[in-house]
């Protein structure tokens, strides 16, 4: 960078970015690879969790060091994504469950039979 950042800061930033990017990449690959909607719906959460965490933590580490003060509001992105992403997923799941039942797929209906006890 500017030559003033110590190696450990750059190494930590790089590690976080690479881990986050890998999670997002594998998640996207999963969307491509998995065969049914109900399986595919699990893949993007990799990007929404570790993917986002990696990038925002990397930003927080790098910028905090460069400015010499805590720079935490990048981490708010993780909070906003955690609040919104599950809502979309649940809506998509509800629609898929509804359509699946219309097509006659075997999807158990909770509350109509004795639930499986652990």
């Amino acid at each position: 960078m500017n030559g003033g950042t110590p190696l450990w800061v750059e190494a930590l930033t790089a590690l976080l970015v690479v881990v986050g990017a890998l999670a997002a990449l594998i998640g996207s690959f999963g969307v491509l690879r998995l065969r049914s909607f109900f399986r595919r719906v699990h893949a993007p959460t990799l990007g929404a969790t570790v993917g986002t965490w990696g990038f925002t933590l990397a930003t927080a580490v790098q910028v905090s060091y460069e400015r010499g003060q805590l720079y935490l509001h990048a981490l708010l992105i993780t909070v906003f994504i955690a609040l919104t992403a599950p809502v979309t997923t649940i809506f998509l799941m509800r629609a898929a469950v509804f359509r699946g039942r219309l097509r006659g797929e075997e999807i158990p209906v909770p509350g109509t039979e004795e639930p499986s006890r652990g």
Partner: protein, 162 residues
């Protein structure tokens, strides 16, 4: 007082959010932040059907750590499954889980936790809120999954919200 501040927790959260977003604790930020923190909860009170009562901050902190650890673990497992297993070899399917948690806010948090965790997704809650239908990408042991959700998450959420 109840009219003015219908949900103190939400007001405090909004004020903290405002301070973090503005990156300052100057008088102007605090005044505007406090005004917003009083305005929005009062205006949106009708959108929140059940009042939120949260207790036990220690249980909350423990639950938060567990959820983060569990998500890191599931991330690794799901990534590994995507890279190494063929789609049709995965034992994915629906699992029914009996619930004892009744508080709607607690159930909402549980829905967010399981949906945000890679490998599990909330599909349906029975009309009486007693049974949850969960879709799981790779079922290893149904009993272990039910135990995980009931003992790790549901018990803590019951302590916090009920």
């Amino acid at each position: 007082m109840r009219r003015l501040i219908p949900s103190p927790v939400l007001s405090v959260a909004l004020l903290l959010l405002w301070i973090l977003l503005m990156q300052s604790v100057s008088a102007g930020t605090l005044v505007l932040g406090a005004a917003l923190a009083l305005f929005w909860p009062a205006v949106t009170v009708r959108l929140r059907p059940a009042p939120v009562r949260m207790r036990r901050p220690l249980v909350m902190a423990r639950l938060f750590c567990r959820v983060v650890l569990e998500m890191l673990k599931s991330n690794a497992e799901v990534a590994w499954a995507i890279l190494t297993q063929r789609s049709r070899d995965m034992r994915s399917g629906f699992v029914l889980i009996p619930l004892e948690l009744r508080d709607p806010n607690g159930l909402a948090v549980l829905a967010m936790i399981v949906t945000f965790t890679p490998g599990t997704a909330w599909a349906q809650l029975s009309a009486d809120n007693r049974v949850l239908l969960l879709h799981v990408l790779a079922i290893e042991s149904e009993a272990a999954l039910v135990a995980l959700i009931k003992e790790r998450y549901e018990r803590s959420l019951k302590e916090i919200f009920e």
